[in-house]
Symmetry: C2
C-alpha cells in the first residue's frame, strides 16, 4: 500500500494510470499475489485507486480538497431555536459547551455500552443485517411495558412503538396529528427544539408561562379556549429548561382542561431517569387516552446508539407505524435496540443512574455557587437533572453574552431560544455537567462585562 | 434470581411485597451480599421487581399479557403502497418474501459487519456516546466524495450529509422543497414507498411511464409543461421495480427538460452497487446543480446498522442540516457510521459485491426459467439487481394472487402498489434472492389458479 501511495504522491502514477498487474507487482515486491490483492482492495476502499472489472486497477481522480466548514463555530449565524443545537453538535473538542443538552462522554455508561456492543458482534445474522419488525425489538417493548405497569400505567407492548430517537417520536406524532397552520401549545420557556420541530411542521405556536409547579393553569385555560389547539407538548419529571416539576394538582387540572377542549398531550419523559423520586405523570393519570408518552435513552445511555419510543392508543400506533415506514422505512435500528436492551438489562443501569444523580447533585450545588459569584441566579434549585435556568445580573442580554462567549470557544444557551414570546432575554440555561473546567467561568465573566458595555 | 422468580410465580411474593433484605437473603442462600445485589439489579432491569430508594426492593406489578398482534400476516389490510412493506417487515421467519426489497440475511457481508462491530467496541467514548457532528462521520463523507470524484462528480465532503437512511434522505428533501399540494413526478411503475412518502407530504403525484431506457420522454415533457412539478424522484442504475437502466440519450434529454422547467431531480442510487458496469448518472452529468443524489448501504451492507446520504448544492445541505436537527436532533448514528465506514474500507467490500452479483445473475436466470413454467414473463432481463418485473398469464389480477399467497405465508408484491395510475394490475415484482425455496413456486401456482377462478 505504501509503495503505491508513494508512486501516486510522487506522480509516477497519475489519474487514470493502470496499476502494475497483481502478478508482476507481487514479483517486484517479493510478496504473494494475495498480499497485493488485499493491498489493492484496501486502496480501492479508500478511494485512491479503482477496480475496473476484468481489466485491473487504475489510479482514481484526486480527492476534492478538504474544506474548513467542518471546523469551528460559525459566528455569523442568527440566534434562533436551532442556534444552540448547531453550535453544540459541531463544536470542536476544545470548545466548552455549558449550553448543550447532554452529559460529557465520560459521564456515560460506556463500559455497559461496550459490553453490549461486543454481545451484538455475536448476535445472529438477522439482527445484524435485517430491517427488523415495524414496532421494533419486542423484548425491549416488553421491558418498557413492565416499567410502565410499575407506575400503574397499563400498556401492552403493541401500544409501544420504538423509533430512532425522542425527537423522531414527536416528529411522527406531529405528522399524524397536525397540519400546517394548526395551533400547538408549548411551555414558555420550553426546549428550543420543540420550536424548531413545530416550525418544520408549519404549526402556530402559543406559549403558556411555566411556573414552579407546571404551566400557569389560568393562562393555559385561556389559551386553550381561545386558540383551540390540537396538541400540547411538554416535558414531565424535570422540565427543560427550568428543572421544575409538575405538581399533582396542576397535573389533574391540566388533564381536565385538555379533556374539555379535546387537546392531545405529548409528554416527553427524556429526563425522567434523572429524578430522585418519581413525580406525577400525565400519562399515568390519563391512561394513554389523550396523553402520548415519548422518551429515549439518549441522555442516560448513549446519544450515538439511539432508540426512542412512543406509547399511545393502539389506533394511533398503527397509523404511526405507517408513517414511520413511509418516511424512514422502519424505525429503530435492530442493532441499536439490541445494544440498548442489553445495556438496560445487564444489572448495572440502576447503579449507574444513582452515581450520576449523586454527581449531578454535587455539580448543581458547586455550579450554582460559582454562578452566584458572578451574580447569576438560578430561578429554582431543581430536584435533579443537569440544567440550571438562571437570571443574569441587571437584566443583561443573554444573546450578546452568548455571542461574546462563542468567540472564546464557549457555547451558551441564551434564554430567548427557549421562549416563544421572546421574554427570556436575560435568562440563560446552564448544563452543570459541562462546567467542571473553571475556564468556563472566566470566559463567562468577560462576556458578562462585554454585555454591560 | 431463580429463587425470587419462583416465589413470585408461586405467589409467595405478590405485587407490592417487599423482597427479603440483601443481607438476610444472602445468608439464606449462602451467597455473598454482592451476588444478591446483582441478582436484584437484574430482576429490576427485567421489570420483575422495583427498587425504592432507601427502602429496598419490591415486587413489581404483573406485566401486561403479551398479545398476538406481533405475529403473522394481517390478512384484512388494504393493498396500498404500504402493504408490501408492512407485510414483509413484520413477516414471521416461516414466511417467504419474494415481494420484499432486500437480500436474505445470509447473503449479507455479516463477517465484515461483525469485525466492524468488534472494532466499534474499542472506539473512544465519544463515538459510543455522543450525538456526533451534524453532517456525520467526516471520514466516511471523504470516502464518498472520492468515489463520486471517480465518476467525474466533484463534490466536497461538506456537500454530503449523512442521514439515518435513504428513505430519510428523500424525506428531508421533501420537507425542504415541497409543500402540501405541490406536484411531484414519479416513474410509473416506481418504488411503492416513494408514493407512501409523498402521500405523507400531501404531494400530488403524477406518473410518467417507464420504458426500457428510462422515463418516456415525450410524456415527461408533457407532464412537466402541464403540471409544473417541483420535483422528479427516480432510481438510477437499476430501476425499481423494472430493473431497467437509463440510456445516455434519455439522461441528457431529461436534464434539458428539467432545466427548461426548473424541476429538481432526486436520483436514488440505492441499487448502484449491484450494477455490473456503471450506467449514466444524472448527478454526474448535471454536477449537482439541479440533481440531488441520495443513497444508502441498506441493500449491500446492513439494513440494521443504517446510514444514508444526500449529496447536493451547499446551500441546500445547510438547510437540510437544520431540518435534520429539528426533526431528529442529528442524523446518522456515529456508531452506525463507524461500522459502515469500517466495513466499506476493510478491503472485502468489492469482493463481496462481486460474489453477490454473480449469485444474483444465477438467481435471475433460474427464477426467470421457473416463472416461465408458470407463464409468468419478465418484462426485461435486468443487467443486475434482484428484481424481475413480470407480467402474469391471461392478465390475471396480481392483488388477488397476493392475497391468496398470503394465506399460505408468502408475501408478494402486486403490480398496482408500484403504479400511480393503477395500470399494473397484472404485473408482479419478484425478488429472486428470496426464491431459493421451491415451495414458493408451488404456492404461486395455487394462487395463480385461485385468481383464474
Amino acid at each position: 500500500m505504501e509503495a503505491i501511495r508513494g508512486r501516486i504522491a510522487s506522480r509516477a502514477l497519475t489519474t487514470g494510470d493502470r496499476l502494475p498487474s497483481i502478478r508482476s507487482f507481487a514479483a517486484t515486491m517479493g510478496v504473494s499475489p494475495s498480499t497485493v490483492v488485499e493491498a489493492y482492495d484496501r486502496l480501492a476502499a479508500e478511494g485512491m485507486i479503482r477496480a475496473r472489472r476484468g481489466s485491473g486497477f487504475y489510479v482514481a481522480s484526486a480527492a476534492p480538497p478538504p474544506t474548513l466548514a467542518e471546523i469551528g463555530p460559525k459566528l455569523d449565524r442568527a440566534i434562533d431555536p436551532l442556534w444552540v443545537s448547531r453550535q453544540s453538535l459541531d463544536a470542536d473538542a476544545i470548545v466548552a459547551k455549558p449550553g448543550c443538552g447532554w452529559l460529557p462522554a465520560d459521564w456515560m455508561p460506556n463500559s455497559a455500552i461496550r459490553r453490549a456492543v461486543r454481545k451484538l458482534a455475536r448476535a445472529n445474522d438477522g439482527v445484524l443485517s435485517d430491517y427488523g419488525a415495524t414496532r421494533g425489538h419486542l423484548t425491549l417493548r416488553r421491558l418498557l411495558a413492565r416499567q410502565f405497569a410499575g407506575e400503574g400505567l397499563e400498556a401492552s407492548p403493541d401500544q409501544i412503538l420504538l423509533t430512532g430517537s425522542g425527537t423522531q417520536s414527536i416528529d411522527l406524532i406531529c405528522r399524524l396529528l397536525i397540519r400546517p397552520g394548526d395551533t400547538v401549545v408549548v411551555d414558555d420557556p420550553c426546549y428550543f427544539n420543540f420550536q424548531a420541530l413545530l416550525r418544520a411542521h408549519q404549526a402556530t405556536m402559543v406559549g403558556v408561562p411555566y411556573t414552579l409547579t407546571g404551566p400557569d393553569m389560568d393562562r393555559f385555560g385561556e389559551v386553550v379556549a381561545t386558540y383551540r389547539p390540537r396538541l400540547y407538548i411538554t416535558n414531565s419529571a424535570l422540565h427543560n429548561p427550568t428543572g421544575a416539576t409538575l405538581s399533582p394538582q396542576v397535573a389533574h387540572r391540566l388533564l381536565n382542561v385538555a379533556a374539555a377542549h379535546d387537546v392531545t398531550i405529548v409528554e416527553d419523559e427524556i429526563f425522567a431517569d434523572f429524578e430522585p423520586e418519581p413525580s406525577p405523570r400525565l400519562a399515568a393519570l390519563d391512561g394513554l387516552s389523550r396523553v402520548i408518552r415519548i422518551g429515549s435513552y439518549s441522555k442516560t445511555l448513549s446519544a450515538s446508539i439511539r432508540c426512542g419510543y412512543i406509547a399511545a392508543r393502539a389506533g394511533w400506533i398503527e397509523a404511526l407505524i405507517d408513517l414511520q415506514v413511509a418516511t424512514n422505512f422502519g424505525g429503530v435500528s435492530p442493532a441499536a435496540a439490541e445494544v440498548v436492551f442489553a445495556a438496560l438489562s445487564d444489572g448495572s443501569y440502576r447503579k449507574h443512574l444513582e452515581a450520576v444523580r449523586r454527581r449531578l447533585a454535587r455539580a448543581r450545588r458547586d455550579t450554582a455557587a460559582r454562578l452566584e459569584n458572578l451574580h447569576i441566579s438560578p430561578w429554582l434549585m431543581p430536584r435533579g437533572g443537569f440544567y440550571l435556568w438562571c437570571s443574569l445580573p441587571d437584566g443583561r442580554d443573554a444573546a450578546t453574552i452568548a455571542r461574546a462567549a462563542l468567540t472564546e470557544d464557549l457555547v451558551l444557551a441564551p434564554g430567548d431560544v427557549f421562549s416563544v414570546s421572546q421574554t427570556a432575554s436575560s435568562f440563560m440555561r446552564f448544563n452543570v455537567s459541562q462546567m467542571s473546567d473553571l475556564r468556563v467561568f472566566d470566559v463567562l465573566e468577560r462576556a458578562l462585562a462585554a454585555a454591560k458595555e
